[in-house]
Symmetry: C2
Subunit: 139 residues, 2 copies
């Protein structure tokens, strides 16, 4: 589903903006590390976090991933999130995710985390839009 | 309500990620130019756009604004959006918003837009969180 061009952005150390739904149906929007795995995106969160609880209650998400140094290049995705309550799998995945951002410090970071259980969030894109903007007037 | 520190980020030409609610209650997340005006954020959209229609139906929003070259510095806001159907006011506001991003090309850009009516979106923050992160292991 992702094109080569999408993968180029998704495999860069960009940040995901993850919109979930609060208990009252209002949106929440948070910044997340992530990793692309095939045609899914993977993220980690504490099981007790608001966003994880939101996703367990309602799996519908909208995600923006924008290029680090070009706000006019971004992907927006609407889809659903699967939440896996497997702390070991989550920490193993987190090591891979974190390595994208802080490389050799990833292991140390993951080992420094509290024992509070983490969940693995797997996002399955439904609709995807890929934006290649440029500041108006420059193209 | 915004601190000096918040204003420093909000007055930079950062991009807003605006989460709204689709007719079925699922989230939408889009990238927006914006301008801070006092304790509100202002954005413009075509009246016929999905996001504008979403906001008219349900004003609840969640907005992330992240610093241009530091993904670990961001503000997330939950609040409500007021939609003003005033095309003239929207275009005047747009001129000010666009000038933050493309400066001297703003007038030309605004004049080049289609005649499709625009709405002025005024976001009133409810809860705000200001994040001053750093890559783990560097602090």
């Amino acid at each position: 589903m992702f094109t080569d061009d999408d993968r180029e952005l998704l495999d860069s150390p960009a940040f995901a903006k993850l919109a979930t739904l609060m208990p009252d149906g209002s949106p929440q929007n948070t910044v997340m590390w992530f990793r692309r795995d095939g045609n899914t995106l993977r993220m980690i969160a504490p099981a007790a976090s608001q966003k994880a609880q939101n996703l367990v209650r309602d799996p519908r998400v909208a995600v923006v991933i924008d290029a680090l140094h070009n706000g006019y290049r971004y992907i927006d995705i609407r889809g659903s999130a699967e939440v896996r309550h497997d702390d070991t799998a989550a920490r193993n995945e987190l090591r891979q995710i974190v390595a994208r951002y802080i490389d050799e410090r990833a292991d140390k970071y993951v080992e420094s985390l509290s024992a509070d259980p983490r969940v693995l969030i797997v996002i399955h894109p439904g609709r995807l839009r890929s934006h290649h903007g440029a500041p108006p007037g420059t193209s």
